[in-house]
């Protein structure tokens, strides 16, 4: 069966440095995947290639039956591929609610979505903010938010694009235990609503509790892909994380 996302032999170089080497990955609709690897293993480069921020030099990315090679980042978002960033990148001059208005205006509307009138847009923004617990900060500017609220805004903005697949790139970095739980609950709830999720994370407790499948990258290569409990006991994975 063809997956929602099919990455086939993806390759990316930065000059002489091989960032990704023949990465293949198949993601089925509704899956929760954890993508792990040490710093510099190519996780973010892979995400950037999948989302169109970087162009892959080899291989292909197919999403929902469409070949995405050559498609720009916004075209991929409109196809249903959303992402969050490692460091939150809110639209600083726009209010929290307006940050969510952007994907509604440019992605959902471009797909012919129903949130057309200003009133509908506003109601949808508030719904999304309520879901992530930011409805009381709708008119604030992003700089007035705490770290966890900023992460939630990032997630809400990705959710506003009504994605089929969400790639959460280190959405829990720098958060406390309870804050990590909050984000995990959000992601699980989103997955229950049918959104496929790839979680990139260093917090293994979060990854293990969230993922149905674990993919491990090391030095631009995929070294493991399977059931999380099996993958973390894989000797090659142990070597990559703990050394020889």
């Amino acid at each position: 069966m063809t997956g929602l996302l099919e990455v086939d032999n993806l390759g990316k170089r930065f000059g002489g440095f091989v960032a990704l080497e023949s990465i293949s990955l198949s993601v089925r609709a509704g899956e929760r995947i954890g993508l792990i690897g040490p710093n510099g293993s190519g996780k973010s480069t892979l995400v950037n290639c999948i989302c169109g921020t970087l162009r892959n030099e080899a291989g292909s990315v197919n999403f929902d039956g469409h070949l995405l090679n050559g498609a720009t980042a916004h075209q991929r978002t409109r196809r249903g591929l959303a992402r969050t960033f490692q460091l939150p990148r809110p639209f600083a001059s726009l209010s929290v609610a307006d940050n969510l208005r952007i994907p509604l205006l440019y992605t959902v509307a471009a797909r012919g979505g129903s949130h057309r009138s200003a009133k509908d847009l506003e109601a949808r923004c508030i719904d999304l903010l309520r879901e992530v617990g930011l409805d009381n900060k709708a008119n604030r500017l992003p700089r007035e938010l705490t770290q966890v609220e900023m992460r939630k805004l990032e997630l809400a903005r990705a959710m506003a694009a009504e994605p089929k697949l969400l790639i959460a790139d280190e959405s829990m970095a720098g958060l406390t235990h309870s804050e990590v739980e909050e984000i995990l609950t959000l992601l699980k709830r989103l997955n229950e609503h049918g959104v496929t999720i790839i979680l990139i994370e260093h917090i293994m407790r979060a990854v293990m509790s969230f993922s149905q499948r674990l993919v491990v990258l090391v030095s631009g290569r995929k070294i493991a892909d399977g059931d999380p409990d099996t993958v973390v006991r894989d000797p090659e994975v142990e070597r990559a994380y703990l050394g020889q």
Partner: protein, 331 residues
């Protein structure tokens, strides 16, 4: 406020200004007012790309000059009414703006700014070597002394520039409150995040360069009739490049009000300085004010007002606040 009503109010205000200048009974006010209004158009046009999208254009003078030289070229072929020349100037400059955008918008920050400056230098060189429009010698455009029903021709030019100023401010306000305006704001804030939210950044930047360039061209089109003798150094003058950047910066770049206030304030100050001291101090005034504002009020006069009123930027520029059931948390 709806755009139609806004336009009507602007037209009424514009009519009032015209009537006030008439009541003063001295054509000098029309000459001075024309220059101030011309800067309203230039500053507003610059702000669409520089303020809304965050792309600093140092080549404003090139677009202005293109409008002016389009008029000279057409005038040499067949004299046409000024409103038609304004439209032609706008189309020519808009087309060049689109081309410039296409070639340079993959550049960001200082690189984009330098590329726009280079465009101005290239265009000036072309005009200097184009004999048909006078080349380095310049070109004379003899304007009629009078025109019905305005009487003196300068009143007619003033009215045209007034309509252009009203039009450009209305366009800027319309953009600011539209889907396009939100898209521009995301480009200014974070292009990567904008693309990830589905914003077609390259297309939007092309729209911004085209609109901005076209409005600057419109402002330049009546200029040969105003000045009477057009030479490259006057059309490509440093004043236009500097003023069209300084005015929005001093007024405030995030809203249509900023360039309007900046242009009226700075333009009027320069006109007063021209008659009381010398036109040579105009750029000095701009320099001092710019340095002062960068230090004291980096967000311009609008920023100062917001700070004073403890308002959020979106309150004044028309971004609607959303109402929620949840009690709002104090910042």
């Amino acid at each position: 406020m709806r755009s139609g009503l806004f336009l009507l109010i602007c037209l009424i205000v514009g009519g009032g200004v015209f009537a006030a200048a008439l009541a003063l009974g001295n054509d000098y006010y029309f000459f001075a007012g024309y220059v101030v209004l011309q800067y309203v158009v230039l500053a507003t046009a610059w702000n669409i790309l520089g303020g809304y999208c965050g792309y600093v254009n140092f080549g404003s003078a090139a677009f202005f000059a293109l409008g002016a030289y389009s008029t000279v070229a057409i005038h040499r072929l067949t004299p046409l009414p000024i409103p038609i020349l304004v439209a032609i100037g706008g189309i020519v400059s808009g087309f060049v703006g689109f081309g410039m955008g296409y070639l340079t918008l993959r550049l960001r920050g200082a690189f984009f700014a330098i590329a726009t400056l280079a465009l101005a230098v290239v265009l000036e060189t072309l005009i200097v070597n184009w004999d048909f429009v006078g080349g380095s010698r310049g070109a004379y455009i003899v304007r009629p002394e009078t025109i019905a029903p305005f009487g003196s021709y300068i009143k007619y030019l003033f009215m045209i520039m007034m309509l252009l100023a009203v039009g450009s401010v209305t366009i800027a306000r319309l953009i600011e409150r539209s889907r396009l305006g939100y898209g521009f704001a995301t480009i200014r804030d974070d292009e990567l995040a904008a693309e990830a939210s589905g914003v077609p950044t390259l297309r939007l930047k092309l729209i911004a360069t085209t609109i901005s360039g076209a409005l600057m061209g419109c402002a330049g089109a009546p200029f040969p009739y105003y000045i009477g003798y057009l030479q490259p150094s006057s059309a490509f003058g440093l004043d236009y490049a500097v003023n069209s950047i300084a005015m929005p910066l001093i007024g405030g770049t995030t809203s249509w009000v900023g360039p309007l206030i900046g242009a009226i304030l700075l333009g009027s100050l320069q006109q007063i300085a021209t008659v009381t001291i010398s036109s040579a101090v105009n750029l000095l005034i701009v320099g001092f004010l710019l340095v002062g504002f960068v230090i004291v009020a980096p967000n311009g006069i609008i920023g100062l007002v917001h700070k004073y009123l403890q308002h959020r930027p979106d309150d004044m520029v028309g971004r609607r606040r959303v109402s929620t059931d949840a009690p709002e948390v104090a910042p």
